[in-house]
Symmetry: C2
Subunit: 221 residues, 2 copies
């Protein structure tokens, strides 16, 4: 076998090996990226204490009669909402659940920018948390910004969405209104996903409804 022939074979081997290594790296990279979060939660949720998630005092011990240390659909939902580190965009038809309201206010106290869109009719009913959130949004010396901004949809028959976007990348959506009945009594579902094809349209929808309900549009002379 000539020297040139051997060189060609060695070259071919090296090219093939490097190609294989490169492909392996690409494939492993894809696999790592592929583990996109896709989770489904069903309700009614078992009732359990969630004080450890909502208390600002991490060493707090709760003595309420509810079961403790139990992972439920609701505690899982709370964990995902509380995972927000920069922003929470919330677009929900009916919001009267106290624990979810506490979660939103806890995020606010940590400096997370919270924007809340709700239905104009349901935001005024007894037990609605929209008023409390709106109140928390008033800029103070201790929290000049970011704050909780609340807008109610004034256009359609019902703003019937029930979704939240956490940090602009995680979508929480489904049939579940943010009420106690929905969490503890009804059959409901929640999808939690980071699939960009699903998340991005919801971000666009939120921004459109948010802009459409800018109070400045209604007070123009």
């Amino acid at each position: 076998m000539s020297l040139m022939w051997s060189v060609k074979i060695v070259g071919l081997g090296v090219v093939a090996l490097s190609l294989s290594l490169e492909l392996l790296g690409w494939v492993f990279g894809r696999c790592r990226r592929r583990r996109t979060l896709n989770k489904v939660l069903f309700f009614p949720s078992k009732v359990a204490c969630v004080e450890h998630l909502l208390s600002q005092n991490s060493a707090c011990s709760c003595f309420c009669p509810l079961p403790h240390g139990v992972e439920t659909s609701f505690s899982c939902l709370l964990r995902h909402i509380l995972s927000a580190s920069s922003s929470l965009d919330l677009c929900v038809f009916s919001f009267s659940n106290m624990d979810l309201s506490r979660a939103v206010l806890l995020l606010h106290s940590k400096g997370v920018t919270v924007r809340v869109l709700s239905d104009k009719h349901y935001s005024a009913i007894t037990g609605s948390q929209i008023g409390a959130l709106r109140k928390a949004g008033v800029a103070t010396a201790s929290h000049p910004s970011p704050c909780v901004c609340v807008r109610c949809d004034a256009g359609s028959v019902h703003m019937h969405h029930k979704f939240a976007v956490v940090d602009g990348r995680q979508l929480i959506t489904g049939s579940l209104n943010w009420t106690l009945t929905a969490v503890q009594s009804n059959m409901e579902n929640i999808i939690i996903t980071e699939e960009a094809e699903l998340v991005q349209p919801f971000i666009k929808e939120f921004n459109q409804i948010w802009a459409l309900n800018d109070p400045a549009r209604f007070y123009k002379s």
Copy 2:
């Protein structure tokens, strides 16, 4: 260079090449599989004629005053429902939309197995299509099986789900009840996905609620 050395190099080249080819095939296979359907539809939908989708006469011309040949969120939803070739499992809180009812009955007439779960309270309200679907489910000589089977949830406060599973692989879920107001007036969302991690839990949930509401359970002596 010895003959044995050349054989080793050739062997290495062949192994590396075959590895590369195998990896390439695997990668392309993944890429093909990766194109999983993930779609979001928002409502209210533009109002347009959907007669061409619902008519069993493909040559039918509709002369109604609605716009024709317009693709809307609703026509897209209808297309996905009508794509069912073997089964449609429907779990919906409120079902009064005539066009969606016609779509379900059209699938039934084509031999698709349809199972419908609805809320016990809302299935009895004026305009509900549950009665018509239940009626269509009566086995006849021309349609001994498969048929439309309807069960109403008799347990929870509200069976508030709004999802459908097409052919056991495509999930349609969101905030949208199957009503005219939801389609034409409200702000609503629908996710259409074939992500197995999202579809499979809904199939399991459907089967559980279906079994829980088997009339045979309530008539046991």
